[in-house]
Amino acid sequence: MIVAEQKPFAEIAGFVADCNKILVAGCLGCVAVCLAGGEKETEILAAALRMHRRLQGKPLETVTYTATRQCDPEYVDAMADLVKDVDAVVSLACGVGVQYLAERYRDKWVVPALNTRFVGGSVAQGVWEERCGLCGECILHKTGGICPIIRCSKSLLNGPCGGSQYGKCEISKDVPCAWQLIYDRMKALGKLEWLLEYQPPKDWSKSRDGGPRKAVREDATI
């Protein structure tokens, strides 16, 4: 899933400092799962903004709505009546949701309440970690199910750099070396010979370097 975190409150309050009425829009997708932009977070943010403005002597009216998904035009359309008479929309979705709102409601000031961090999963209650670099050409079958593109701080494809020591990455003693993990797993699986094979330069055009990507499923289009 996409993992996001709420921006500092002061930053969000600053985005809507000139507004009298805003829509605070949450999302029930990934950001609800990572406790950043679901229904509860949406209500809390709206209340905090109202309180902050009341204390400033400049009351703010808020409307709240939590969409099933902000990355789907159908659910974005459903907010039309609420968007109509507000000065701004504060979206608690990931960057995709914010853009979907901005595209749909062109005359509205749409601002992000979250920083979209990464694609990952939960590793403990309240802790999430990055797992996929969205490179567009998966190589996990070659690396024991551990992604060196995103979990190695240098995205190395041919093994660990000289900074890997005691199982940790050179950037921090808190970060496991992805290549140590890969080595250990491939060894346990009896597939070390896979790591001796030279991996040629990656085709980064399939990643973000090729410009915005598009996926088309012919069988699903109308």
Binding site: S153, K154, S155, L156, L157, N158, G159, P160, C161, G162, G163, S164, Q165, Y166, G167, K168, E170, I171, C177, Q180, Y183, D184, L195, L196, Y198, Q199, P200, P201, W204
Partner: protein
């Protein structure tokens, strides 16, 4: 002699000379004054000198330009190139340019992470990794093609290709295999991480020799003269991929307690290490990394009995 390049370093290694290389770290300003000063000082004492490429991710005068400066002083440069700051387009452009200016040796490196340096918020590139870089340089030379496969119609760059090996990083058992991968990709000479743990280095070399790697590439042992107890302790605790055994530090401490000059003791230790690694099968030379202490190199070379240096012709 069947040489692949015009590199003087290659010629000496091929002839079986025990070579000595050193390292010059370019300055954080736009004058070549110190580089030239160091080049003149080292010229007669080493066979070639590495020029670091923004080491520890700190912005410095480029390795490319610094290499040209020392070349003008008559010292052969080993230009270091990391994968951190350039993509394959910029790398190949620099390779063509460097070769056109007379640079013949290249050391291909991954590069320290930018978080160590003075621009921790920079974007890192890592379009290629060091092994892919090695292979690209080899293909440019031997197959006369760019990384994309298009032919280099004429005047291909012909570099003597180097790589690093770190026997002190983990996983230890993979280190020799990674060295082999580098040699398979095209590495012709290897410079190791700084050695303080001779036992581990010996084990590494045994494994390398067992796989015949010493016959496929020239392995130069990396050494560093310790200038102070603080520097040794810092490396022991804070430099990833280094092992500084406690007895090394104790020896410096003892020297200090006995009223001796710690730096002098560091030099003596470095000379002893040179003598030790010379005995290890498969070691073709030494690479002396006197970081920010370039002026000590002539003393070390002399004390190790490696002066005068052989003539290439």
């Amino acid at each position: 002699m069947n040489l692949t390049t015009e590199s003087r370093l290659e010629k000496l290694l091929k002839r079986g000379e025990f070579v000595v290389t050193a390292e010059i770290g370019p300055p954080q300003h736009a004058s070549a004054h110190e580089i030239i000063h160091h080049a003149r000082m080292l010229k007669d004492y080493v066979d070639a000198t590495n020029i670091t490429d923004c080491q520890t991710a700190v912005v410095r005068l480029s390795s490319f330009a610094a290499a040209v400066h020392i070349l003008r002083e008559g010292l052969e440069p080993i230009m270091q190139m990391t994968c951190r700051d350039r993509n394959r387009i910029a790398m190949q452009a620099d390779l063509l340019g460097a070769y056109s200016l007379g640079i013949r040796n290249l050391l291909c490196l991954t590069g320290d992470h930018q978080s160590f340096g003075n621009h921790p918020t920079a974007k890192n590139v890592h379009d290629l990794d060091s092994i892919q870089l090695i292979n690209m340089v080899k293909r440019m030379r031997d197959d006369k093609v760019f990384a994309c496969g298009e032919p280099i119609k004429e005047h291909e760059p012909r570099f003597f290709i180097g790589a690093a090996a770190n026997p002190f990083a983990d996983p230890f058992e993979f280190r020799v295999l990674r060295l082999e991968k580098k040699i398979n990709a095209g590495a012709q000479f290897i410079q190791t991480q700084i050695i303080f743990d001779l036992e581990r280095f010996s084990r590494f070399m045994e494994m390398a020799v067992e796989r015949g790697l010493h016959e496929r590439a020239y392995i130069l042992a990396g050494l560093l003269p310790l200038k102070s107890i603080g520097a040794a302790r810092y490396m022991q605790k804070n430099v990833p991929g280094m092992i500084v055994p406690e007895e090394v530090i104790q020896r410096l401490r003892k020297a200090k307690d006995e009223g001796k000059d710690v730096a002098e003791e560091g030099v003596d230790m470095c000379v002893e290490f040179i003598n030790e690694v010379r005995k290890i099968k498969g070691v073709a030379g030494v690479h002396i990394m006197a970081i920010a202490w370039e002026e000590i190199v002539p003393t070390i070379v002399q004390k190790a009995g490696l002066y005068p240096r052989p003539k290439a012709d």
